[in-house]
Symmetry: none
Subunit: 183 residues, 4 copies
Amino acid sequence: MTKKEKILKSALTLFVRDGIDATSTARIAKESGVASGLIFHYFKNKDGLVQTLFLELKNKISELNRTRNDLSCFTRENFKTMWMNGIRSGINEIETIRFIHQFKYSRYIRLEEREKGKSFFTEQHAYFRDGIQKGILKNMDVELMGEIVFEQMLLVITYIQEGRGSIEDIESYYKIARDSIFS
Amino acid sequence: MTKKEKILKSALTLFVRDGIDATSTARIAKESGVASGLIFHYFKNKDGLVQTLFLELKNKISELNRTRNDLSCFTRENFKTMWMNGIRSGINEIETIRFIHQFKYSRYIRLEEREKGKSFFTEQHAYFRDGIQKGILKNMDVELMGEIVFEQMLLVITYIQEGRGSIEDIESYYKIARDSIFS
Amino acid sequence: MTKKEKILKSALTLFVRDGIDATSTARIAKESGVASGLIFHYFKNKDGLVQTLFLELKNKISELNRTRNDLSCFTRENFKTMWMNGIRSGINEIETIRFIHQFKYSRYIRLEEREKGKSFFTEQHAYFRDGIQKGILKNMDVELMGEIVFEQMLLVITYIQEGRGSIEDIESYYKIARDSIFS
Amino acid sequence: MTKKEKILKSALTLFVRDGIDATSTARIAKESGVASGLIFHYFKNKDGLVQTLFLELKNKISELNRTRNDLSCFTRENFKTMWMNGIRSGINEIETIRFIHQFKYSRYIRLEEREKGKSFFTEQHAYFRDGIQKGILKNMDVELMGEIVFEQMLLVITYIQEGRGSIEDIESYYKIARDSIFS
DNA sequence: GATGAATGAGTATTCATTCAT
DNA sequence: CATGAATGAATACTCATTCAT
């Protein structure tokens, strides 16, 4: 792992554990075993680090999403697959999910990013639109639809993560999401 | 308005606008036109101010909820009424809603509060249970149910607030919530 | 006990336990159960409280000293009596002793007070001089002599107070003092 | 002189002149011509600075004591030499002496340090014990003995420093110390 | 690339003191 | 006498950021 990667990794862990504001760059440097100045060599400033981290994680997820799921046309089956894949990888990458959620509601998000950041499904608006046209989905704003599904997934992931519910009941959790948006 | 109230009012506004961490006590004092020390006369420390603010707002909402809605038994009709009342007052009291949401995901929330804070509907778990028993609601954990409904309401309120959707479409937004949890 | 007395009593306890600087007037007010403003009604300011406390305690001790010991002329016997009385009352009034010692080395002592404050024995310089003239004491500055005896007493009192030595060995501690200054 | 040394030097001067509590870190920074934050780069906090200063000075003195005086066995002659060396270097290093004394009676001293700090002579308890065994010293607790000798030295050093007595009379001051503890 | 000393504005909090009631 | 709300300067400490090495 390069020093740059070490910085990003420690930043992610600390941001999620303590919050972005409450994590000092000095702390990140210490945790990743590099000199405090190095952060400012790789990133313009703290904000730059936060933005970079967000973009990298977002891209990682988007890519995962794209390679694992076929989103060229909407079907009842591939939506379910996508949703369940999302929950499963969300549980494995809880830090990533938490950071994205935190970032979305922080003062670090830029206005331009806000809309794009609201959902995993930014790039899937066309996918939802296809579902609406086929009469499978409720006829509503695809942005709002994406946000609702994303927030629900987050709640379910957290619910399982905290041991309050079991992954084996995933089918029943899925029904909530499905019924929310299916017509 | 007493100085104590002025402090709480300014704190709410600034917390929502800039975030809790990014709002200094000095700023709050300045904005409310009191001496910086007065905050610590009324509240043990910044955390005390945040906690007090949260509790006051939570109580205000709970009371509103209790007086406006009959939650002694669950019916399709009174759930709808409650939900719509919630959206309407949420739009009027957007600061309150935003602060509670922010607080819930901040490092200021105490573990004891976390569970209780997760939903407006803490006190309505029995209400949901009644709905399940009557076969109206899906058979699921009422806690998770409360959280899902709350987050959805938040998204809808924000959506309308930001001018992306109209309050006149409230009926269609309601259907999402209803279908999520109704069996 | 009047409120003024309560203030002085609490101040003494807190000053000795935590130090004068580290004791706030607010703390004193709280501990003595009075309003914070009352301290400034009875004493000009914190310094005034400290000075008053010092003078009252000093007077109490001087009076005790005067009534219990005959210091009109120096004898081996009455010096011993005085020394032993001093140790015994010092052990009973440890707070008083500690405060005077603390005060002596603090920034609260005024230059005028410094000399006078250096010893219990300020008023007994004539007594020491008598001892010198009679050839019982070493021929030395009576001020220095007083300070040395006072510091030694303090060490012995503390030593016993802390349970490191027993009051029953007082005779042997006395010999140190005696041999220091007797010719 | 490095900036760290400058900080320690200014701290010593100000602590002795105004007291530890009454000396702000800002004042120390200003006096030593460094940024206020640098103090906290080198020392964990104000307490860390105070502790470091104490340990450095204590070590300096101990070393001086060890190199100048032979304390492997107690004799009347080398005790006198040691005592006189102590007075002379105490007069030259009055700040050091004053700070150690102040520290000893401050709230900064830690319980573990308290015993060790009570005397220059901590490391010389064996030396005193040797003197007792040889019948030269009074048969008493060597800790108390050390404290008594130290306090006496402090009084004498101060006495000379303040111009109340002359270094030329050192022989007569010595007799006080000697008679206190010699049997 | 990498270090960590150095900066100084900013933060939460404390505190002696005042004063209207 | 007595209260405690109110003040604002001062305090210890943090932190993002710079820069010489």
